[in-house]
Symmetry: C2
Subunit: 275 residues, 2 copies
Amino acid sequence: MELWYTENQTPDLRIGFRVKAVLHREKSDFQEIAVYETEQYGRLLALDDVVMTTDRDEFVYHEMMAHVALAAHPDPRRVLVVGGGDGGVVREVLKHPVEEVHLAEIDGRVVAVCREYFPAIAAGLDDPRVKIFVTDGIAHVREKENLYDVIIIDSTDPIGPAVGLFQEDFYRSVHRALTAGGLFAAQTESPFLNGELIRGMHRFLRGIFPVVRLCLASIPTYPGGLWTITLGSRGPDPREPAPGRAVPGGTRYYSPELHRAAFVLPPFVSALVEG
Amino acid sequence: MELWYTENQTPDLRIGFRVKAVLHREKSDFQEIAVYETEQYGRLLALDDVVMTTDRDEFVYHEMMAHVALAAHPDPRRVLVVGGGDGGVVREVLKHPVEEVHLAEIDGRVVAVCREYFPAIAAGLDDPRVKIFVTDGIAHVREKENLYDVIIIDSTDPIGPAVGLFQEDFYRSVHRALTAGGLFAAQTESPFLNGELIRGMHRFLRGIFPVVRLCLASIPTYPGGLWTITLGSRGPDPREPAPGRAVPGGTRYYSPELHRAAFVLPPFVSALVEG
């Protein structure tokens, strides 16, 4: 049988996955949600035909989105994840001694589908420290002040419902919603394919946060294979784990040494975020 | 017009490039050589339907294959490139004060096609320090002793003509062909998709070279997007540029800081090369 799920990563670039079975497809109020059983990467979640995560490479994205920001904070107690309805970032956040994790996911159906088809990724969602808000993350953040030590923006691409999560207004709200020494981490696309987006975001973020940094992670199912995480901080420099912070064991991509190395940028990437 | 070049990166994974024009196709004595003008990555060279290089991302592979090994050697004078008929690695090697660069490429047609269609990549091939041997790299290396300070193995995948370049016998010859403090660098595929190959090679290489290391580079047009370079040394530890070595300017991926960071491996990659 020749069944393939193909993503148009750009109008001129495609990735294709051989599919064993189509496990789920639905149109929610916000997007099309699909789950495929692929040969190469196990189960794959796609939203509006864009790969969000797969069983085999999810560890890279979820570990890096969570541990870099959390390890950089000396004492993260209250954490917000915006988007991230699959639960992968929440699962990693819970490996730190946090008191409360809020998840603001606009599409409750993503949470429900992931609980059913990605139990290992959604595992943390039932932890008593977790509170799920099915709501627009932008509105959720706008109403908060001085509340979160870390905010992680685990968004889809900057089209459709996630556009606002890449804009200046939202990051002014993020700054307000953070505690005095707080910081955020956001997925900010590919340095090979989305350089102008990264450049533009860093330009306005430097007007909002005293410290703005970029780090890299290799995610094979994302366009270009190399992904950026942008961090903005009201306190600690996210390039280093905070002194004395114990980092969770058992990670497969993250380590304290890798944390530091992920901020060493190839010159073509530094050029995007300098000046 | 909908014209796509599609590579089956594995039996279960594909990458597709929208094609503006098919510039060249031929069957040489060794392989099918094709040059496409793609929208996303500019000109693309494929051998037996596997992407070798593209105009837009070639800098990553060629810089990392050349500069890591050359910067690690205190005084590289004579360098051999095995494979690499496009000339990209040679071009980068020539940015160091070397005296002689030998290129042992089995397929003279690759050299000719790249001179015609990739003039910026093949640029170094006419440098008076370069000598091109159209020959089997394995035989070329087997006949040499104590000759090269650095050997760079820029091979195709371990199928077809390049199989021998991933085997123990060849690396015994490489050890003999190197000078006493010499080292080699070889492309050794993807840590996500070819873990067992990497594990097996490191196992036998540790029996041949006193120092064996792995570093990483992100190459969007290669399967999985993250690539490994294996280095084996009879002298210096390749994880560091040699003290006092001036490193060529104008690189877009390589820098001395990136050199060190490229050897910091995510735990799932370290696990492939330990013990």
